[in-house]
Symmetry: C2
Subunit: 134 residues, 2 copies
């Protein structure tokens, strides 16, 4: 059975379920930042996915990227599967702005997360869920 990595669970709010992936929102108000986690056990690398699941994940990551860019008006979307710290396969989708705290560098490892105020993460997650139509 698929179980969500504990660190991913602790750092995020739930957005909802796409056909393959659990969609999460990072609890870091510095960056509008979603994470997709395919609900499959034991995956580490993108090339561990079956061809069918890989294509579904590409569709789902593109849908989240388009929705988050539309919601935020971001200048650029960053989409990445890294996994150097959390091994469970997950894909980051981050909305980037030339004025953000990390630009033009990537967001990972830059400073410390700034959690949303009470209720704000859930509101952002709900907006993204609605934009995705799930």
């Amino acid at each position: 059975m698929f179980e969500l990595d504990e660190r991913l669970a602790n750092d995020t709010a739930l957005v909802g379920d796409l056909p393959l992936s659990l969609v999460l929102l990072m609890n870091d108000q510095r960056f509008p930042w979603a994470i997709l986690v395919p609900r499959r056990k034991g995956l580490v690398e993108l090339h561990d996915l079956s061809a069918a699941d890989r294509r579904t994940l590409a569709d789902e990551a593109a849908a989240v990227s388009a929705a988050l860019q539309k919601l935020t008006g971001a200048e650029k979307m960053n989409v990445a599967a890294l996994g150097n710290i959390v091994r469970q396969l997950h894909v980051h989708v981050v909305a980037r702005f030339a004025a953000d705290d990390a630009w033009p560098r990537p967001v990972w490892g830059v400073g410390a997360a700034v959690p949303y105020a009470e209720g704000e993460a859930a509101a952002c997650a709900a907006a993204l869920k609605s934009a995705l139509g799930v």
Copy 2:
């Protein structure tokens, strides 16, 4: 017509052509690092790709990731479409090791590239081309 961004051309050696993407090798001996560039004009975001091209790109990125991990014995592969500096849509596939210069952080923006010695980049590119069967 598709034209490769000049900075990508300057920083890389040619590996070869997959059905959709040009495959390049970053001229940085610190990290085994390939780049895929879909040969389509005017693309910036992953969600700019047609659904068919997006699935092909997912297949090609997975093939490059699997081949580069097999060639290098990397502990983790990092796959990312960022584009904060070079806007032309491109996907990084980087072989990572716990002993490398950036671990566990991402490689982008870490220090300066260390070019390969004469002939080495071409040899690495040829090895990757052979592993990809192109």
